[in-house]
């Protein structure tokens, strides 16, 4: 599992949209890029990818923008990372068919990477953006108390 800037932007964008989900309003790529600190033209490409992946929907033109295509509770971190940054497995051979592998020494590490992949998936596939959004609002309350 390797997270690129693209993946990082995608996660932050989805989180921001999750925070605006209840309002029902559209969020522009400009506003998004400001809040998550991403170059707007690069972010546009990411948003397009997220749209094609079915996670967000958009409206063009004046008062256009983006919003989540699903409830935040039905989008996981793993969903977004896999779409944008590819599969979570650490090496290519994990999900390939190596049944005809000539030498066991060449395959003995496969089991290790499978375990790593399962452990990773066990984490990222069980965290939804509803979880993250609620974490944020809790933290913001604490913050406003401490101030």
């Amino acid at each position: 599992m390797k997270i690129t800037f693209k993946g990082d932007y995608a996660l932050k964008a989805i989180l921001d949209l999750a925070l605006h989900y209840d309002s029902g309003e559209l969020v522009t790529s400009f506003d998004l890029s400001q809040r998550i600190d991403a170059p707007i033209k690069f972010l546009e490409q990411v948003l397009l990818e997220l749209k094609k992946g079915g996670f967000i929907e958009s409206r063009r033109g004046n008062i256009g923008g983006y919003r989540l295509a699903r409830v935040p509770g039905q989008i996981t971190v793993g969903d977004i990372v896999r779409l944008v940054d590819g599969p979570s497995e650490p090496i290519a051979c994990v999900n390939k068919d190596y049944s005809n592998c000539a030498d066991i020494k060449k395959c003995i590490f496969k089991g290790i990477w499978q375990k790593v992949d399962q452990a990773t998936s066990g984490i990222i596939d069980h965290i939804t953006f509803e979880d993250l959004a609620s974490q944020i609002s809790i933290n913001q309350k604490v913050l406003s108390y401490s101030i």
Copy 2:
């Protein structure tokens, strides 16, 4: 965690040396490259890195070669992967100091990658090349029985 060819070669080379550890003999880069199916000149670079990392030692000249610098039970998969392919964390910010992070939304994913890193480390740091070598010898016995 991303495993490159270099890391894959390194792991296989260490495993091969672990299998030859009891004999006390040196293994040449040529023999290694044949058995683990790696280009010899590339493998040489990897072996040099492993030597500088303190995992193998070498002797030059005629009847030279490589052998493990430690007992196989004291070298883990994590040791080798970290040396050759870098740290196991999925994104750079995990071990950096983000205590002065302005916006919580920019940091909320950090905890996730820390968990992923811990889970990964929990696997690769507890598998030694003694474990792997014994797995191989067991499998080879089964194989010789079935033939």
